[in-house]
């Protein structure tokens, strides 16, 4: 692997800019049977909460045109088990972990953040302030700039590693929220989480998901993600991990041009579990064809360069 793909972000020294997105890769165990996890740029692990959570009743997934809805409801084994079992398992791989953390109150986040950040292979945190699938909060942290900033500040105070804040796309003005968390000390942003959506089953005449609404992910939301990253990257000076519908190396490049400095791949792992290593290979080739020495050069080119517009 050449140096074309290597990038360095706060807390994340990555061999390449590709990481699986939180919630779409569990804690890596299943995928570790398919390929060497050390080939990944980083790993975004499933949201960890203080207590273990069963999550929502099933059905938890439904399909939509070019996308899918999920309402998993942050199922996870809880802080203790994540720290004692899941993270140590991942230590056998040479790959930085971006630990996604969630909660319903500020104290939850702070407590989980403090403990998870101490794990040797967790080199950055991802604050999930945008999960649409838990009733008791979650998303409200992501729609109010002041609340989001206060939470960021509280977590920054206890975290030993850099903190990325994962933004919700279900807002009118994402720039204001991004700037608020930047000011509160966030080291980077992850965007976007899922859009809120619903599908109704014509036979039962009820929403397919037991939780009724769910988070929309996959190719369908890609244009929304690209637009938001384009807007935000011009107005903040912290790096953005871009995600939302990525399925091809061209998509990765599109996110970089929009202003992302790394990308996460979510839903596409379900369609093709080998997608991440495949994208890494294809990206390397694409950059050679494009005569780009390091993918870094592409960050924000859609707004920073003076290329002629056709």
């Amino acid at each position: 692997m050449s140096k074309k793909l290597s990038i360095k972000l706060p807390g994340l020294e990555m061999k390449n800019p590709i990481m699986p997105a939180s919630g779409c890769f569990g804690f890596g165990r299943e995928f570790s049977k398919l390929y060497d996890l050390s080939s990944l740029g980083a790993i975004g692990i499933k949201a960890t909460t203080e207590e273990s959570r069963f999550g929502n009743p099933t059905p938890r997934v439904a399909e939509t045109p070019g996308g899918m809805l999920n309402a998993i409801g942050l199922q996870n084994p809880g802080l203790e088990k994540v720290v004692s079992e899941e993270l140590p398992f991942l230590e056998s791989y040479d790959v930085p972990i971006l630990a996604n953390i969630a909660g319903t109150k500020t104290e939850d986040y702070v407590n989980v953040a403090e403990k998870v950040a101490k794990a040797p292979n967790v080199t950055a945190l991802e604050l999930n302030i945008s999960c649409p699938n838990v009733k008791e909060g979650g998303i409200s942290f992501g729609t109010d700039p002041e609340v989001a900033a206060a939470l960021t500040k509280a977590v920054k105070e206890v975290s030993e590693v850099p903190v990325y804040v994962k933004l919700s796309p279900n807002v009118a003005d994402i720039v204001t929220i991004a700037q608020a968390v930047e000011q509160a000390g966030a080291d980077g942003l992850s965007m976007i989480n899922t859009l809120l959506g619903m599908r109704i089953d014509l036979k039962t005449q009820q929403p397919i998901l037991a939780n009724r609404a769910g988070g929309l992910s996959g190719p369908a939301i890609k244009p929304v993600a690209v637009r938001m990253i384009y807007e935000v990257s011009q107005r903040v000076s912290i790096p953005i991990i871009g995600m939302g519908g990525i399925t091809t190396a061209d998509d990765v490049i599109e996110f970089f041009l929009a202003g992302a400095s790394a990308v996460a791949v979510g839903t596409a792992n379900f369609v093709n579990p080998f997608i991440c290593p495949e994208l890494i290979d294809e990206l390397e080739e694409r950059l050679s064809t494009m005569k780009v020495d390091n993918i870094n050069e592409l960050v924000g080119r859609s707004w920073s360069s003076c290329y002629n517009q056709s």
Binding site: C24, R60, Q75, G218, V271
Partner: protein, 257 residues
């Protein structure tokens, strides 16, 4: 387990909306466990986006061919039914844990299938017969037109067909037949709609039985938590099993029906 672009060798309708598809590929050599399933991509675009879980129905290891039976009903299975000989079929698998064969001690196995739950029992039955087990099949369908593989099963052992409308075989549910006729068995294997599995558990109280479950899936490999089920007798409500990777086959008494 692997992902492979296999080649369709045949795809035909064998009963009302029920298709039999056969494909060829190296992946077939891994398909030694009955009750496992394959996760299929029916479109190379993203409509539908997700794969479809379909059971292995029959395997010819030598010819590297695998057969599946499926009902063409929704978006994905309808696309699958449009595949022609020579078309590519993107297969991920084999996935999950199938029916355990090692533990079988009894002389007679009762295989109870309902509708589109029947296919995995065929490969199971073949494997049991190979091991010298005596197999007895009770296969339930809605109606004569929905019935398939009667001949194939009959070649392996006694085969009772039940139909709800009585248009073929015994009229009634599979459980009605079994309660009435009391065929003797040492172990029971079943795959079919949840109400059927429930009736088997509640009405037949089999001592040793394995059920194959269905749940909507995302990844199919245990990573997304789409397919979780509650566990019987779990008071905390936080224990779970994933149908895709812990199952789809579980001993009775494990999954909360």
């Amino acid at each position: 387990m692997r992902r492979e672009d296999t080649v369709v060798t045949e795809n035909i309708e064998i009963a009302r909306n029920i298709y039999q598809v056969t494909f060829k590929g190296e992946i077939v050599s891994e398909m030694t466990e009955p009750g496992q399933f394959l996760h299929l991509r029916t479109s190379d675009q993203y409509m539908p986006l997700l794969r479809r879980p379909i059971s292995i129905c029959d395997v010819d290891i030598d010819r590297q061919e695998c057969t599946m039976l499926y009902r063409a009903d929704g978006e994905g299975t309808k696309q699958l039914s449009d595949k022609r000989q020579g078309d590519q079929l993107d297969v991920l698998g084999p996935l999950g844990n199938g029916f355990p064969l090692d533990t079988i001690k009894g002389e007679t196995a009762l295989l109870v299938g309902g509708g589109i739950g029947v296919p995995p029992l065929y490969y199971l039955s073949k494997k049991l017969v190979e091991k010298g087990v005596n197999v007895f099949h009770v296969l339930g369908f809605a109606s004569a037109e929905d019935t398939f593989y009667k001949q194939q099963f009959s070649e392996l052992g006694e085969t009772i067909i039940t139909t709800i409308d009585g248009s073929l075989g015994y009229q009634g549910f599979v459980t009605n037949y079994i309660l009435e006729e009391q065929p003797p068995y040492d172990i029971l294997y079943s795959c079919g709609p949840t109400p059927m599995l429930n009736a088997i558990e509640q009405q037949l109280h089999p001592e040793r039985a394995y059920f194959s479950f269905e749940e909507r899936m995302g990844c199919g490999i245990g990573a997304c938590f789409a397919c979780v089920c509650h566990v019987q007798g779990d008071e905390t409500g936080t224990s779970y099993k994933k149908v895709c990777s812990d199952g789809p086959v579980f001993p009775t008494g494990v999954i909360q029906l």
